[in-house]
């Protein structure tokens, strides 16, 4: 999802750029505005202080600004770079400019559609079920006989792709596609589960919703590069020009760091290459911050304490 938030995060970043206190810290870790990025940014801060006695400033920055900062030297580490969604930035900063490194190890992620248990019980298990009006009628929330499907926030890049997928698969004909902020979509899931109502919605993992509720991913045909025809989003007609009647491509996210920083602190760069969070841990992190409302730095201190030997292992040459 993270890449979906570029436009919002970028605006926030613009506001914060310039408020740099150059003498305050040994390095700067950019922090996204979503829970897993907040958790991992702070875990890296605490772990690097533990292993290398370096003081890291965690600074909330949007993805684009973070990449610019990695190039300019204002930022040293970006804890969460999503692929393939940000491959164009990786192409620019890693392959062309050679100013950023992306850790080879990634965390597996996933994007697609999910169903509440009551939707599954109503017979909606595969994406093809969404093309059956008799089945999708149970998703109706406004009394017009057509089901509703939340496809994401208006600012997310993925929301447009979900619209493309709905058109390509054909279920856009009998479902009303809803765009609303993620908090609205997730609260709708909460309310649907609480009252035993079926709901289908766009989802991604790792995400705390999988710990909050017994959510089921809809099955669908696997990703096929030959069928995934997504036009550039800069084109005003990109949605109608695109076609994607298959699952999303495999997704992962990675730590990135500045090449200049790696030259200065090869030991820390080696450490970053060894960080091996699992998707389950990321889910727990998002749950701890988003649901249990633990402060990110406090959470990070506890996490590093309770995983001391593992963190030490990352620091071994």
């Amino acid at each position: 999802m993270k890449n979906r938030l570029i436009s919002v995060a970028f605006a926030a970043a613009l506001a914060s750029v310039g408020a740099v206190s150059a003498d305050a810290a040994d390095l700067v870790i950019s922090m996204p505005n979503w829970p897993s990025g907040q958790a991992t940014a702070n875990i890296l801060k605490v772990a690097i202080a533990k292993e290398y006695k370096l003081d890291a400033e965690v600074r909330e920055l949007g993805t684009l600004t973070a990449f610019n900062g990695l190039e300019s030297g204002d930022v040293d580490i970006n804890p969460e770079v999503w692929r393939p969604n940000l491959d164009s930035l990786i192409e620019k900063y890693v392959n062309e400019k050679h100013v950023v490194e992306v850790a080879a190890r990634g965390i597996d992620a996933w994007q697609g559609l999910c169903a509440t248990p009551d939707a599954v019980a109503a017979g909606i298990k595969d994406i093809s079920d969404l093309s059956d009006p008799a089945k999708t009628a149970v998703l109706d929330t406004d009394g017009d006989g057509r089901g509703e499907l939340w496809i994401g926030a208006p600012t997310w890049l993925s929301t447009g792709i979900e619209r493309v997928r709905a058109n390509s698969y054909g279920y856009a004909k009998n479902l009303t596609l809803i765009e609303a902020e993620e908090d609205v979509g997730m609260a709708a899931v909460d309310a649907a589960v609480a009252t035993g109502r079926p709901m289908v919605f766009a989802c991604y993992a790792p995400h705390h919703v999988f710990e909050l509720h017994n959510i089921v991913r809809l099955t669908e045909p696997p990703y096929d590069a030959s069928k995934w025809k997504i036009a550039p989003a800069s084109d005003p007609t990109w949605i109608s020009d695109s076609s994607a009647p298959v699952a999303w491509p495999a997704t992962s996210f990675h730590i990135a760091y500045a090449t200049a920083f790696a030259k200065k602190h090869a030991d820390v760069a080696s450490f970053l290459e060894k960080v091996d969070f699992t998707p389950e841990e990321i889910t727990h992190m998002t749950y701890a911050l988003q649901v249990d409302r633990q402060p990110p730095l406090e959470f990070a201190k506890q996490w590093v304490d309770s995983h001391a030997s593992r963190v030490d292992g990352w620091a071994k040459p």
Partner: protein, 211 residues
């Protein structure tokens, strides 16, 4: 309240979602119409069980104190710690509340003054005498308390308010915003904080983006 047309939401299609009551024993939804509701209320002096104030399991990432309004099911949830919420029954303004989004409680009032919108004054002779405001009281359509919903610092003109027409809880009523029994709105008012986040999931709302 009652201002959908005034703020240009356009044609409010498909807002006639039929009210149903969830029967937890049979796990089915039972139709609930205005006539039956009046009869039920006349017999029992209260709304059906489903619409009475109660603590229910409600797992959410939202912070305790957040209000979630599910207009389709006619429930308002006040999130509590520990995976629970206080659930209240609500009546929903069929004409005036057709959006989804996130707002906040900007201010509250006890026994609020009600001022009918200009459109109502123009079409309803009974509203003319209150064109400059009807004082708060038992007959006032806003009931005992009102929570004024703001987007940023701007009043959305939507309210969560009480009603003297208790039988209308659980229904898509002909006018109004989110209405609650006076006892319930007094209870909610006593618990809610200014600035509380309000998430609106409305029937048909989904057809609209934001407020």
């Amino acid at each position: 309240m009652l201002m959908a047309a005034a703020i240009g939401l356009g044609p409010l299609v498909a807002l006639a979602a039929q009210t149903q009551i969830f029967d937890p024993q049979t796990r089915t939804w039972v139709d609930y119409d205005a006539k039956k509701a009046r009869q039920y209320y006349a017999r029992n002096k209260q709304v059906p069980d489903a619409f009475r104030r109660q603590v229910v399991p409600f797992r959410t990432a939202e912070e305790p104190g957040t209000i979630i309004i599910d207009g389709n099911q006619h429930f308002l949830y006040l999130v509590q710690p520990g995976g629970q919420a206080i659930r209240y029954g609500i009546g929903v303004g069929r004409e005036g509340f057709g959006w989804a989004g996130i707002v906040r409680v900007g201010r509250t009032a006890e026994w609020p003054t009600w001022t009918p919108p200009a459109e109502m004054v123009a079409r309803d002779p009974n509203a003319v005498k209150w064109a400059n405001g009807m004082p708060g009281g038992p007959d006032n359509p806003l009931g005992a308390r009102a929570l004024y919903l703001y987007e940023g610092n701007n009043d959305t003109i939507y309210r969560i308010h009480g009603t003297p027409e208790s039988w209308s809880i659980g229904l898509d009523v002909s006018s109004g915003c989110i209405r609650m029994n006076n006892d319930d709105i007094i209870d909610l008012h006593s618990r809610v904080k200014i600035g509380a986040k309000v998430i609106v999931l409305m029937q048909g709302a989904a057809l609209y983006k934001g407020v």
